[in-house]
């Protein structure tokens, strides 16, 4: 791994964590959503640096492009854009509990990561940059074909369910 990509890796890591921190500390939903979009973009940079450019592109398209647009659309639709008079945060007890749970979870995750501190030598990444979809597609349409087909059913169900749930009841 060259020094330049290592530098960019740290840059994108800092961007991701900083945007995520800004995201959870915003009061209004719209600034939070925009910071989350920033997090998604920085994460896609990390994916590209981790030799997964296709996942990075899909991250931008699906998360930053589709999911967050739906979030902002719902915020606008329900006219929730400005922070209300009631505080969005829970009380001091809830915040303390969240802090303790967060600290414990972080300690747990970092301890679990230390378990295999000696990572084996990396598989040399394929140097061809023209062929980024094929390794993923090969697996997706052979070994994981059943899961792929099941996600299509999940999407169809979600589509119908979302329409049914959000539909205005007329002459009920």
């Amino acid at each position: 791994m060259s020094d330049l990509s290592r530098y960019f890796f740290y840059l994108f890591s800092l961007l991701t964590i900083g945007s995520a921190l800004a995201f959870v500390t915003r009061k209004g939903p719209v600034p939070a959503a925009l910071w989350l979009v920033n997090t998604m973009f920085a994460l896609s940079g990390l994916y590209v640096l981790l030799d997964a450019p296709f996942v990075g592109a899909v991250q931008v398209l699906v998360y930053a492009g589709a999911i967050m647009v739906v979030f902002v659309f719902v915020v606008m639709l329900l006219n929730l854009g400005r922070a209300g008079d009631r505080p969005d945060l829970r009380g001091i007890g809830g915040q303390l509990t969240a802090g303790v749970v967060g600290a414990a979870l972080l300690a747990l995750l970092l301890a679990a990561r230390r378990g295999d501190a000696v990572l084996p030598a990396l598989v040399p990444s394929s140097t061809s940059t023209s062929n980024v979809v094929e390794p993923v597609a090969q697996l997706l349409f052979t070994d994981y074909l059943l899961a792929f087909e099941l996600t299509s059913i999940v999407l169809l169900t979600a589509l119908v369910g979302a329409v049914v749930l959000a539909k205005r009841r007329t002459a009920a």
């Binding site: 290592r6 990390l46 899909v58 999911i67 969005d88 809830g94 990561r113 990572l119 390794p135 996600t151």
Partner: protein
Amino acid sequence: MISEALVVSAVLFVIGTIGVLTRKNAIVLFMCVELMLNAVNLSFVALSKLHGNAGQVFVILVMTVAAAEAAIGLALVIAVFRHFGTVDLSSLRLLKG
């Protein structure tokens, strides 16, 4: 670099967890859940460097399910808003005795 990516993933997951535990706006809460899903995706991608491309396939599947979850969740938020006139979770206390 995998090790650092796992640390970033853990930090992101914890930030998402703290957001879920502290926020009361249902939409912001959903966004925190999305952040947690993204953290897990990052560790999938990092470990796919070690264990082959299956991790990237999982990331694609997780993204699909996340899209479906966002659609259903936001439809639920719209239905709740129509019924209660708010998305503040602390004012939804029908089950509180």
